[in-house]
Each structure stands twice: as structure tokens, then as C-alpha cells.
């Protein structure tokens, strides 16, 4: 991610932890919410990687603001030739979600059915409870007036949303690891820091390997993304699968290392793990994306290895 963007985003996400409205105003004011709006539509038309970088950063900071969802919505609107309105946006991919993230605070909701896109006015009040930390609204309650319609040129909505989640997940995974390392260094039992116990060291090293793997898969997928072209489904599948797999191990170990304090609402860990558990289910879990990969491979008549290497990774 561009160093200046990263500094700005980090400052906003850190400074406004206590006031979410102020955080949002600052994010919008700095143009960060419009990174993926094309220049033709009054945005910045930034390289895709910048938006994924921001989603990752936002995932690490774990603020309940719909930055990633707004980014995805704006990309889809640009792709459909539509202007992105100001304000918070949410995305509903028909047939995929039960809950609309941040629906209750959304100024607008982008709804995608196949390749048709409609822009609805928000908010959607009806709450839908799930494993995650962020508010969800019942997808069935989306009734707001349609204020624009458009068509997507490619089946981009699901992979784009999935890859954005993978980016958020990598941020949250790193943050959960960092938090666990710090905690293990400070918590004293039996007269020494937990991190002095080999069993704890090994949990941390396993976590870091998972984080590194998820991160490498994400970076590789992000490197394939070109605006205006379909996403590389294989690369997206690998990234979302690997992030989901890592989330399982990292959340489990992080909670084990933290003991009871990690099981409280107040302590910072749950903000990360609850989101990871939600995000790994969003827009296709590991099994969905693995099945996609497997189907393609099995349909192909050639052996697996030439298929894997043909992709040039």
C-alpha cells in the first residue's frame, strides 16, 4: 500500500477509536472511501491494491465502520457505470447473504442479482444476529426505494467481496497474533511470562505461520486484479480459503493463550476473533471456494501439476 495513504488511514483509524462518526467523517474527508471510485465518476481510480490494503488495515484496527463494504459497493457502482453517492454503503449479493453488514447505518445499499445492480436507499433497521461483531440487517428487509439501476459486465461481485473479506481477515489475523504475543509477554503465571513456556511459543509460531500463509495467498491474488476485467477466480479462491483456514487456527490459539480475559466483551481479542469467524463465512467459506477449485481441476483432462503451473504463479 502507498506509504502516505497508509499513514493517513492508520492515523484516522487509531485517533478516532472512541468516536465512530468522527472516524467516518475523517475517512470520507480524506477521500479514502472513494479509492475505488473511477476517475470518470469523481473518484481517485487508485490501483486495486490500495483498496485491498485499506481493507486489510481496517481489519487490523477492528473499528465498526463500513469502510470495506463501502469500497466494494463503490467498485461495483463504477463497474456498472454509476456514480457513487457519498456516505456509508453496504452490499447485498442476492442468494449469498442472510445479513447485510452495517445495514442499520447505511445511507445506501448496493444490491446485486446476477449481473443486475440496483442502488437502494438505506438504512435497513431489522437486526439479524450472527457470530460477528458488526451489526447486520435482515436481507429480507431491504425495501428502500431503488434510486439507480445498472448492469455489471462480469460476474465480479462475489469474488470482489470475497477477496475484500480476505484482506480484512489478513489484517485481523495479524492483529490477533500481535495481541497474543504482547499478552503472552506480559501475563505472569508460575513466576514467569507465559511466552517463556515452550507450549505457548509453539502456539504462537503456528499462528504466525498461518498468518504468513494467508497473507502470501492474499498478496498473490491482489496482484492479479485489474480494473475492468473479471477477477482471477482461482487466485481469489486460494486467498479466501487460506484466510479462512488461518482464521480457524489463529482464533483457537489466541483464545487459548489469553485465558478467561480473552473471553470477555471488553478485552480487545473478541473484536478480532468474532469478525474473523463472521468474515470466513461471508461470500463463500473455505469449502465453497475449495469446491470451485476442485471442480475446475476435475473437469480438466490434464493432470493436476500442469494445471497448477500453467497459472504461472
Amino acid at each position: 500500500m502507498d506509504a502516505m495513504l497508509e499513514t493517513t488511514a492508520t492515523r484516522i483509524l487509531t485517533d478516532h477509536r472512541e468516536s465512530l462518526d468522527a472516524a467516518w467523517v475523517a475517512l470520507e474527508g480524506s477521500g479514502l472511501t472513494r479509492l475505488w471510485v473511477s476517475e470518470a465518476h469523481g473518484g481517485y481510480g487508485m490501483a486495486p491494491a490500495e483498496g485491498f490494503g485499506l481493507a486489510r488495515l481496517a481489519g487490523a484496527h477492528a473499528l465498526p465502520v463500513p469502510i470495506a463494504d463501502t469500497l466494494v459497493a463503490s467498485w461495483l457502482l463504477s463497474e456498472a457505470g454509476l456514480q457513487s453517492p457519498v456516505g456509508r454503503m453496504s452490499v447485498l449479493i442476492e442468494g449469498w447473504q442472510r445479513g447485510i453488514p452495517f445495514g442499520d447505518g447505511a445511507d445506501h445499499v448496493v444490491r446485486v442479482q446476477g449481473r443486475s445492480l440496483t442502488l437502494h436507499r438505506g438504512p435497513i433497521a431489522s437486526a439479524y444476529a450472527a457470530v460477528g461483531e458488526d451489526p447486520l440487517s435482515d436481507a429480507g428487509a431491504l425495501t428502500g426505494a431503488v434510486i439507480a439501476t445498472g448492469e455489471l459486465h462480469h460476474d465480479i461481485a462475489l469474488p470482489l467481496a470475497a477477496l475484500t473479506r480476505a484482506a480484512q481477515m489478513c489484517g485481523a489475523l495479524e492483529a490477533a497474533l500481535t495481541l497474543s504475543i504482547e499478552f503472552a509477554g506480559q501475563r505472569i503465571q508460575f513466576g514467569r511470562a507465559l511466552s517463556k513456556f515452550q507450549a505457548i511459543q509453539h502456539l504462537l509460531s503456528e499462528m504466525s505461520a498461518e498468518v504468513a500463509a494467508a497473507s502470501a495467498a492474499l498478496d498473490a491474488a491482489v496482484a492479479t486484479v485489474q480494473p475492468g476485467t473479471p477477477l482471477d477466480l482461482q487466485a481469489v479462491a486460494v486467498a479466501k480459503f487460506r484466510a479462512g483456514l488461518a482464521a480457524g487456527t489463529v482464533c483457537e490459539h489466541a483464545h487459548q493463550i489469553h485465558g478467561a480475559i480473552g473471553y470477555t466483551q471488553e478485552y480487545a481479542l473478541a473484536r478480532l476473533t468474532r469478525r474473523l469467524w463472521q468474515w470466513r463465512e461471508d461470500f463463500g467459506g473455505e469449502s465453497y471456494w475449495a469446491t470451485e477449485l476442485g471442480r475446475v481441476a476435475l473437469r480438466n483432462q490434464t493432470p493436476l501439476w500442469p494445471q497448477l503451473t500453467a497459472r504461472g504463479e
Binding site: E174, L177, I181, A184, G185, S195, Q198, I200, Q201, H202, L204, S205, E206, S208, A209, V211, A212, A213, S215, A216, A217, D219, A220, A223, Q234, A237, V238, F241, R242, L245, E286, S287, W289, A290, T291, E292, L293, G294, R295, A297, L298, P303, L304, W305, P306, L308, T309, G312, E313
Partner: protein, 381 residues
Amino acid sequence: MSQFIFPIAPETQEERSLRSRVRLFLETERAAGGFEPAADCWVSGVAPAFSRKLGQMGWIGMTWPKAYGGHALPTLHRLVVTEELLVAGAPVAAHWIADRQSGAQILKFGTEQQKQSILPRIAAGECYTCVGMSEPQAGSDLAAVTTKATKTPTGWTLSGRKIWSTVAHISSYMLVLARTSPADGKNRHVGLSQFLVDLTLPGIEISGIRDIAGHTHFNEVVFDDVQLTDDALLGTEGNGWAQCMGELAMERSGPERFLTTFLLLEHALATMPEAIPPVIVGDLIARLSTLRIMSRGIAYRLQAGEHPDTEAALVKQLGNAFEKHLFATIRGIIAARPEAEVPVALLRLRDEVQLRLPANTLRGGTTEILRGVIARQLGVR
């Protein structure tokens, strides 16, 4: 951000064409009866004639300078070749260690005379080497080695016992880690040195050890007052620990840490595709693809002259875990039906992999030791 760095290195056009050439060569060799594909081929497949052919193709010592028989090619080219050799199950064990680590050590620390006389022969696939680190009482605790080298007027006297030395029985040289001066109190990493030992010298006894499957690919090597010339000291006296750690990074970083069981998956897909659900295939693809991305990242950094030692340990550990997962998965699918209904060749391969699997998480550093290496980088050790 991330604790570990794995740059994304997309495949270049040259790499692609190199890959096709290697593949064509291997298909031709295989069709001509040049080899039978084997899992774990980089440890079990000793075939000097095949190694020489690879040398002729220019696929050994690829990254070394041309002056020493190398080909001055990028590390990523070597990665392409090693991947293809492993996936084909080609018999590459004879030269593997010389190509992977000993050659690089000689290049870095050897005398001009050693480089000129040994490296071209390694690159030709004619000269093999082995690793002399482990001893009966020094496994994971490598600094506990007691093999001793004592200074003489003309060189050194070497005494001690190395064990588990893969391919020592066909090797011309062993890179021996030995104590040259006492440890400095608690710091046992000082006083160790590395020696390039000519295995034809008097006083050396090499005896094979049968592995779990009855194969003799590793050995015990006894040094009984072996007289070494001065130039047998590789690198700097007392720098042996650091040199070995550098060597281990090369030993750990390659695709042999996740591709030795791939043959089993490919074979199962070819013979009973209907039995393997897409979700399982995709699961394995996603894990393997990630390992390949990471492994390319390491090669890229090695090429840039960096030292991704911890990343290498990390990928080895993830790779070992992947191989176990792959085996458990395919074994589980096979076990769902009576053996009589499973192709015999697939059963053989399954059994072969089962017998090789326990070694993966031991050699080159055990899982526990690698986790410790990673934990140190995380700052918790």
C-alpha cells in the same frame, strides 16, 4: 505489518520455457525407461547416470558462476527445475545435496583451488557430497557435537562419529561440523568449525544404516585420527555454527518440503477421480498453491542476496504439515473401499509414502525445533 516477508514473484517467460524443456526431458527419459517415478525421490532415488544427464542439460549448479561449471542463472530458474524433478519423482538423490547446499558452501567459503576442482564436477553430476552435522548424542542439540579437529603442523586431525549422513556411501566429500576449541562457558556456538573432508582419506569408515523400509540411504561415518590438510578447514575457524545455519537455510527452503507426496495425489486423481470429491481436491490445491507462492518468495529473496532463514523454517514446517494432510486425505479416500478394488499401483504408492512420512518432520530440523526458530523471530524466546 507482516512478521515475515514473501514477495510475489510471477513466473517469467524464460521460466515457462525452461519448465517446458525440463518436462519434455523428463517425459522422454521416463518413456525410454530411464526411471520409475518414486515419492521422496530426492532421498531415495540414487542414479548417477541420471545425475550426469541432468548435469549435461545444465540443471545442476545452475546459479553458480560459469567459471566453476555453473550457469549463472537466477535462483527462480533452479526452483522451476527442482519442482519439475520432484513432481516427476525423478531419481535425483545422488547429486541433490551437493547441488542444494554443499556446492553453495564451497562457493562461498572454499579456496580457489577447491572451487575449481570440485564445483565443475558437481555441476556435471559426477561428484556427490553429504552433510556431517548430526552425531549419536547431538541431534536437535547440534551444538553438542563432540567430533573434534585438532591442529597439527600440516593441518588437522579429525576424530569422531557422524550419523544419519544421507548418501555418504556414494559421496566424495562430507561437510563436517567439528569442535576446534572448547565452548566459551555456556556459549557452545563458539569453537565450532566446518571442514571439507575428502571421504577417500585413510581412517574413515562408512557403514550403511537400514531405514524403516529396509533401504540404506543414510550412514554412520567414523573418523579415526584422519589427517586433513590445512585447506580442509572450510571458511573461518570458529565460524562453523554460523556457516551451518546458513547451510540449513538452503537445506530447508526448497520445494522438497512439500512436493514429495504430490505423486500420490496425482496418481489417485488419475486412477480413481470419481472417488475424490471436488472440495477435497480444491482444499489440497489451495494449500499447495499457497506453499508455491511462499516458496517462490523465498527464492526471490535468496536471489536478491537476502537471508530468509526464518521464512525457510516456516515454509518447511507448513510444507511438512501439508504432506501429512495430503497423505491423510488420500489414505482416507482409499480406506473407504476394499483394497481389492483399489489399483495396486496406488496402494504401493500409498504404502511407500506412509513409510517415508515420519522422516519429513525430523530431517532438516524437527517440527519442534523449527517452531522454536520461528518463535525466536517473533521475539518470544
